[in-house]
Symmetry: C2
Subunit: 364 residues, 2 copies
């Protein structure tokens, strides 16, 4: 059972964490723990590895360091609570965690936590220090996004299919560590930016026609969805193809899917899919498919983002991506997924995607 | 078949619309059509009827009125496209509609539509003029929100259950006119603001314990979700109980569920659930359940919204609601759903909801 394995590891690390603090106290040492430094300066993009990675720098959190005391206390509280959550088989959201642990300290007006940014920061520390995902601690990411396709799952005692669900689909919950993959009939995962496009592709039965799993995160893929895609990619050996808007925001969504985010660099090996490919929208699609009349003018904020992205190492060192970014600036336009509806509603399903995917017309 | 019925009505109205224009032209009259005026001044809140309603005022859209010509042309285009969508069994999103219909007019540099606000406005006109929902025209609202519980549905040739789906649930799609209700075992619908609270209640199996259908719209219920709730309420005869944050935003979400929104006043009979009740969070919960330590201070924007709401007729004429709003201002705090986690994670499922619902402790 997947969930049980994940729980075991997390409980083991939590126990080691507690034991280490206990040993230090028993030996009259001020208790402390270490974790990798999570500043931008300690993040590397290793091309061979094709992933954002944390460097070697470590920080220490010490109980007797006045400026650490509060965070130290909070870390121990969160660790203890996570042990409870795992043992009781419950999961909590970030805000629920905060409310669950908030109380006034005895004989003081101090609260344990003042905001969920405090509990969230401590959770990030614990993830990095113990090398355990927050999902493994049963603290869950926002559940937003869904899947549709020929995939049978088991979770929480239920067995069900992600196809045959009318026009809807299965909500990808924030916690998917306990999902077991039973059967599937699919050749790849299509990761879709826009939920209206998801609706279109369900309606056109693209999951069946192209034999794929349709996944959307409704905009930026939340970490719960990325984690689920990663698990399907690794355990079902399915390639991931991204289908997003042809604009700096779509490009960014793709890069986070592929390389990880700066914020979660310490965990990118468990979220990022370095093999992911990009099917569209591209700047070349405009002439290729005659979409000149349905581009949208770039706004200043788009142009600013494009220039920023030209400095990101994963775009900067890629001829193809720099080419896309330059063309976008030159043409001064962006191209949304749904612009394809200008040809016909079924164009995306009957021509655009099958043609490009069969010919392997991808950006790296 | 539900979907077929809805299609029939929409096609009939579209045909009548076209015929009326055709007759006018044939009789050498400048073509025009009428629709109810949708300004705030023409919106009434009728207490007996407990719903926002459009008044009697009508506007005319005339082809030969220079300032109407563009909108008139657009209305006819959208009407023709909707006929196509219905006949081909396809649904489109708002943005897809815009892209689908955008093109340059022959021998001119004029585009049919410049933005989806233009196509959206025309769609609103057609809805009001023909008294047909956009969903019946196969133009769909954002699909955001989900359902969990003992309810079997048929849609698009599939039969499936909204229970037994692990920790997920069924995505409520933007188009649910064609959903057929097969079987259900539930006594009421619990409409939940927050998707993390939805996750909590799925995990605690509240749908089973309290014999209800759990529905969330992830914040403000989008119109697709409200429409689906309305259909379940009417066709399955299930009462609707709202469970939202104890703040002006939660109150507002509830009021839209119950009375409709100003924007959609012309359609509130097909969205609003005037019988809906409010279980929480309330200002009285703070003392009742000892939640003093997990309230959040009101911000200026909250206070402003509270004062606005005190002028809304549906709050203004309700002693209970004015009492809530006044208490909120006096205490200067708001109370989130998830604050209940301060008692324990299962408190909401084992005590708060069962106690209040069994005792019928509702706000009107």
């Amino acid at each position: 059972m997947k969930g049980v394995e994940s729980d075991k590891i997390a409980l083991k690390r939590l126990k080691e964490f507690g034991q280490s603090l206990y040993e230090q106290i028993k030996n009259n040492k001020p208790p402390s723990f270490k974790m990798p430094t999570r500043t931008k300066a300690n993040i590397d993009f290793i091309e061979g590895d094709r992933r954002l990675k944390l460097g070697e720098r470590m920080s220490t959190r010490s109980f007797l360091n006045y400026s650490h005391t509060r965070k130290f206390m909070q870390s121990v509280m969160v660790a203890a609570a996570c042990e409870d959550y795992i043992k009781s088989g419950r999961t909590v959201g970030k805000r629920e965690l905060y409310y669950n642990l908030k109380h006034s300290l005895p004989n003081s007006k101090q609260n344990t936590f003042e905001d969920d940014t405090e509990s969230g920061a401590v959770l990030n520390d614990l993830e990095a220090s113990l090398n355990v995902l927050r999902e493994q601690f049963h603290v869950i990411a926002k559940g937003r996004g869904s899947i549709y396709g020929d995939l049978d799952l088991r979770q929480a005692g239920d067995e069900f299919s992600c196809k045959g669900l009318g026009r809807g689909g299965w909500v990808i919950p924030g916690y998917t560590e306990d999902v077991e993959f039973l059967n599937h009939n699919a050749e790849f995962i299509l990761a879709i930016e826009n939920d209206a496009m998801m609706g279109r592709l369900i309606e056109e039965k693209v999951w069946k026609k192209l034999n794929c799993l349709l996944v959307t995160g409704e905009g930026m893929f939340p970490r719960g969805v990325r984690r689920f895609i990663k698990r399907m990619h690794e355990e079902l050996k399915l390639p991931v193809i991204a289908f997003v808007d042809g604009d700096p925001w779509g490009f960014y969504i793709y890069s986070v899917l592929k390389y990880g985010s700066i914020q979660l660099a310490h965990l990118s090996d468990r979220y990022a899919v370095p093999d992911a490919k990009y099917v569209g929208m591209t700047m070349d699609d405009i002439d290729e498919y005659g979409l000149q009349n349905v581009t949208e003018k770039l706004k200043d904020v788009d142009k600013k983002k494009i220039k920023e992205e030209m400095e990101y190492p994963w775009f900067k060192h890629s001829k193809e991506w720099m080419n896309q970014l330059k063309k976008m600036l030159e043409k001064g336009v962006r191209l949304e997924q749904q612009a394809l509806a200008n040809k016909s509603l079924s164009f995306v399903a009957e021509k655009y995607l099958p043609e490009k995917i069969e010919a392997g017309k991808f950006l790296p």
